[in-house]
């Protein structure tokens, strides 16, 4: 369970998170939508401790992320995150990209790590590309590799930060399919996305962020069909 309690965060004079409260249960898929600058991506990078918070708490399975005593490296083994820019490691093959963390962080042996990596890469549809270098893959393929790379660590939670926003339109579908598949398999996911159809189909709950606050949260049908908050209504009207 991920618990976000009254989290505030500023970048200098600009407050980007103004008291966020959100609890995500195991197996839930929560999608976060909203305009740019609403704080959605920042929230994700706070959950795995990449960004500090100014006040409030974030707890992952009871462990406070930003406590001084927390071993962030260990915590991050449980939380997978995929960014908008897939950040492939260019000097390693696809297989090596995925086996790196299992071998060096989890201490798995080469054969064991490769077995896991192969499984995840096949899972996302890259089984044929194991010995290819990421530079030769399309954006969509690299993004799926990034997803497999995160999954190879057997995380309990997966965070997706606008993972299709940097892709050419025709490549978006394959990545969304992968996300849908993960959701159906029961992965706990928090997705920040602009893809409304995807959000509607896949989520258990949809949250609408507006200027650093969570204006509204609810089941997809409720948010998309009958939004209560004026800002939500405005936003949804503008993206139709």
């Amino acid at each position: 369970m991920i618990e976000i309690q009254n989290v505030h965060k500023s970048f200098g004079p600009l407050e980007v998170l103004k008291g966020i409260d959100l609890t995500v249960q195991r197996g839930e898929v929560v999608t976060i939508i909203g305009g740019s600058g609403s704080g959605k991506s920042t929230l994700l990078t706070c959950i795995n401790g990449l960004e500090p918070i100014d006040s409030g708490k974030i707890l992952v399975d009871g462990v406070e992320v930003h406590a001084k005593s927390t071993n962030l490296n260990k915590l991050r083994q449980k939380i997978g995150i995929v960014f908008q820019q897939w950040n492939a490691f260019p000097h390693l093959t696809v297989l090596e990209n995925v086996t790196l963390a299992p071998r060096k962080v989890l201490g798995l042996g080469k054969a064991e790590a490769e077995a896991i990596a192969e499984k995840q890469l096949k899972h996302v549809g890259l089984g044929e590309k194991l010995t290819t270098y990421p530079g030769r893959l399309s954006g969509g393929q690299q993004q799926r590799m990034a997803i497999a790379r995160a999954l190879a660590m057997s995380p309990d939670y997966m965070l997706f930060d606008e993972v299709t926003s940097a892709l050419d339109p025709q490549l978006v579908g394959e990545v969304l399919e992968t996300l849908k598949m993960l959701a159906e398999e029961g992965m706990t996911m928090i997705c920040v996305t602009h893809e409304m159809a995807f959000a509607r189909d896949v989520s258990d709950r949809v949250a609408y962020f507006h200027k650093g606050i969570m204006a509204e949260i609810g089941a997809p049908d409720q948010i998309f069909g009958n939004p209560q908050h004026p800002e939500t209504q405005k936003f949804l009207a503008s993206v139709r």
Partner: protein
Amino acid sequence: MFGYTFQWDQALARLPKMLDGAVVTMEVAVLSMLIGIAFAILLTLLRLSGSRPLRAVATSWVEIARNTPALFQIYMAHFGIATFGIHLSPFVSLLIGITFNNAGYLAENFRGALKAIPHTQTRAGRSLGMSQLQAFRYIILPQMLRISFLPMTNQMVWAVLMTSLGVTVGMNTDLYGVTQDLNALTFRTFELFAIAAVIFYVITKIITLGARLIAARLFRY
């Protein structure tokens, strides 16, 4: 034509000895590069560290190495250290001097290379649970070395050419030193040093061409 009779055969007869010297030259150059790269990586890490004194030490090394003559650095290694009662052999003084120089220049190259690597690479590694050191070792360092490959090759060429300065601290087993000794024997200055020049040129070309081949094989992506 000239008021001078070239006597190439006398000089060429000395070729084997000069080639032996060339081997010693390469030994010094290769060692100075290997140790220099190791120190340069260390200096790079120090310059990134949060500790001010460590950063200052590393920056001092780099700036002194890059802003003073290599010959000065070799003198310091030999005569400077001698004032503390430690008398180093010419080979070791030369090696220390060139290594110090290499480390400084390479550290600066590495710094430029690091700038070309997006910080998101480290972020991706840390998100997978890697420590800062692991991320540096497995993700950043390999890329840094690949980007720096050409400057490192140039530095290797420099190192080979710098070994000639060894004579100033009494080195006589490297190519230049051998040539100088032979010159004192035979006074065939022009012929001997011309041959030495050719040997240096060939070594330099082998290094640069070899590097290009290695790069083509290693950096296939």
